[in-house]
Symmetry: C2
Subunit: 338 residues, 2 copies
DNA sequence: CTGAAAGCGCTTACAG
DNA sequence: CTGAAAGCGCTTACAG
């Protein structure tokens, strides 16, 4: 029952020209006499003609599809990044195909492959690609890839992200300078998540460099990024590691859980416990006390990632990488111990 | 330089069969002798063959693409809904094409059209379609459409959403029962946004029904949904309409702004001012005081919307609509006046 | 059970 | 400046 859409032939017949001329009127207008061109375009419009994208893709071997493969949309920083990414892409006549795959990059081979098989000419990924099979696949198919959120010098893929390791070093240094000695980390699941891994590594190594390695305490969530885990950790810390004076949360979500539960338990922040988050979500500055956290330019990341992919596809420009700034935004949830 | 992808002909040649047999081995396996089929599939795999989606789409007149056209991804409820939507869609062998268009549905004709012209077989939209040209276009092309977040009985398009009017009536009734008489509304931009319009209408009419129409006070944001607007409104209210005892915010975002600024200004909530939000974002229950707000099943909405579209496409089932529940979640930000 | 051939809707050398 | 024709990679009646 589907209404047959007008084809190039319909337009040609109605205009009394060949299909070649119709095609040219749209794709190479200067090669068609003006009055013919105008007539064709007018008739095309009146018939509601638009070129069949599948036919075009087949003929030109170009789908104009780019894929965004991300952990989830149910987390503000990814949603925001894709929001920006998508705007640039759509404005460029490309289309964004969206796929969520969770946080473990070890198991994305099939999903990314499927997205390429569905015609994606390029793909945005969050984090690093571990799987050698996937790396080989993408290189062999010559698919431009941009990895976001992390930054690495990688010969094969462009990274547009920030230095997760360095910023976490900064946090530990900041806390150490403040006088904190018992500092714990609340981490997200680190399996297949290089951002978490980098932060954990930074925590360990920087603590060590300050001679604080006798109090390495890492709580790694098993259930993703949930507020509850922050609350859980706070209970554990107060009962089992009460000497702890600072909590580095690798997500604002965890920090919100800690702060909320601290209030319930009557633990003053930052007097008794310093809390640090990560991501600088909008709400971070609105809660009480406002949250000290890490801010990174999420929208910029999305836009640059889009440009990177478009550039690679357009003039065969080598896909470029970019290290963006992240910074520790100090607010009232952090302070000197005691 | 692009690696030529294996075609059905490559597989056929390598297997010593015809392309028809290769195609059948995948699409109608029972019609191919087992050993032949196995050989073909094995060879296809070794060549990394996957069918060209453009060729398939052209031949079958079926793109397997569905579009999500939403205001923005930079707002949790939309991002979450699309997260769920996308999961169901992708699991069904379809692909999600994403496009953001802002909050004003008066101007989405071109964007939705473009998405259909890019091959979308069905489309998810947020809210109601005003534009008659767009309605005609979608009907004429016979494109299944599901409108979300709102609920209406519409002969042309399925709605999977909730009753924005009714829930706002509930809020006003709740406040009136508590003894509030001076109630104001903080609204998002209502132009082209039927959810806001419904809530504003509900506010006006219910206030009237309680004989409170002498204090109709609506603050409509011009700049989208920003925390700042909540703070601004609070200033205006305290200076110009200090008799106000309750603020109905049509977004948690506004409510967060109000709550945060109330704290700064030393205005006790709910003793001096009751604050109500909308959307029940995760953070709503974590702030102080926890926010009374409207909760709706966002993920369910996304899933059902996906099912609706898939159903319409699969067996030509009429697209179904669904009125989902929303409810007022009462927390400590609301109470009796004074 | 298998293959030869047509055709989906486009674009683009090629010829005029 | 324009048209006839080939061909992109598939699937599917049709014939055997």
């Amino acid at each position: 029952m589907k209404k047959i859409r007008a084809t190039v032939l319909d337009v040609a017949n109605a205009a009394g020209v060949s299909v070649a001329t119709v095609s040219r009127a749209f794709n190479k207008p200067e090669a068609v006499k003006e009055d013919v061109r105008n007539k064709v375009i007018e008739i095309a419009r009146s018939l509601g003609y638009s070129p069949n994208p599948a036919a075009k893709a087949l003929r030109l071997n170009k789908t104009n599809i780019l894929a965004a493969v991300i952990p989830t949309l149910d987390y503000a920083i990814y949603a925001q990044m894709i929001n920006s990414f998508q705007q640039v892409i759509n404005d460029s006549g490309y289309t964004v195909l969206l796929l969520t795959v969770g946080f473990d990059n070890n198991n994305i081979y099939e999903r990314v492959k499927s997205v390429v098989e569905r015609g994606a000419e390029g793909v945005l990924i969050v984090g690093k690609i571990y799987d050698q099979k996937l790396r080989d696949f993408l290189k062999e198919k010559n698919i431009p890839v941009v990895c976001t959120y992390s930054y690495e010098e990688d010969p094969d893929f462009a990274f547009i992200g920030y230095d997760n390791y360095a910023i976490t070093c900064n946090i530990v240094n900041y806390l150490s300078d403040l006088g904190h000695k018992r500092i714990a980390m609340v981490a997200g699941p680190s399996k297949g998540n290089d951002r978490q891994q980098a932060r954990i590594r930074a925590y360990k190594e920087t603590m060590e460099s300050h001679g604080l390695a006798d109090h390495l305490l890492i709580f790694e969530s098993t259930g993703g990024f949930a507020v509850n885990f922050g609350a859980e950790v706070l209970h554990k810390v107060t009962s089992e590691y009460p000497e702890t004076t600072a909590l580095i949360c690798n997500s604002d979500i965890f920090a919100f859980g800690v702060l909320s539960e601290a209030k319930n338990m009557g633990i003053p922040v930052p007097e008794r416990l310093t809390v640090i988050g990560h991501d600088d979500m909008e709400i971070a500055r609105l809660i009480q006390p406002p949250l000290t956290t890490v801010s990174m330019p999420v929208n910029e990341m999305g836009k640059q990632a889009a440009q990177s992919l478009l550039g690679a596809l357009a003039d065969g420009n080598p896909v470029f990488g970019l290290k963006l700034d992240s910074k520790l935004v100090v607010r009232e949830s952090s302070g000197k111990p005691q």
